[in-house]
Symmetry: C2
Subunit: 98 residues, 2 copies
């Protein structure tokens, strides 16, 4: 959960997600869309993979990345949940201190 939100908190990583939404790409193709170095992109891809946002499949010399859209459900559920006001429980009522 935290890895997931962390993964989404960087603009470059969100752009990578938007790219992969259109089609699967290998690391080099992805890097071509950015002006930062390939190792930096590789690092971002690693974080996205750790957060389960993308899956990577080695295809010969290339590594193809694709979105794992299922994790987004988790985010949507959490966020939508916050939009809904919760009924206050007795035990949640905090006394003013002193």
């Amino acid at each position: 959960m935290n890895l997931l939100f962390k993964a989404l908190s960087d603009p470059t990583r969100r752009q990578i997600i938007e790219l992969l939404r259109k089609r699967d790409m290998n690391a080099g193709e992805i890097a071509d869309y950015f002006s930062i170095s390939k190792p930096s992109i590789s690092h971002h891809l690693d974080l996205l993979r750790q957060a389960n946002v993308v899956i990577s499949i080695k295809e010969g010399q290339f590594i193809t990345y694709s979105l794992n859209t299922t994790v987004f459900d988790e985010v949507v559920t959490w966020v939508l949940d916050q939009s809904q006001r919760k009924k206050t429980n007795k035990k949640d009522i905090k006394q003013k201190s002193k």
Copy 2:
């Protein structure tokens, strides 16, 4: 957009959101739920306010914070959008370099 995702990327701030989901609270009440200092909580609240996630209203000696749930729509829209595979445009097809 970036401020919003940044705001959601910290566990303490997400917990604050979950607290405010139940009821509005003033800064001191919120701080009571955590073991970190009041100035730190105040800082988190400031970031949440900058991201438009909460609104603060001064009520005498207290400052009441409440959720501004409308911003969550933005997140849900973006995330849901990524879950939906996009039709590939001609112009989006990137030639393999060389």
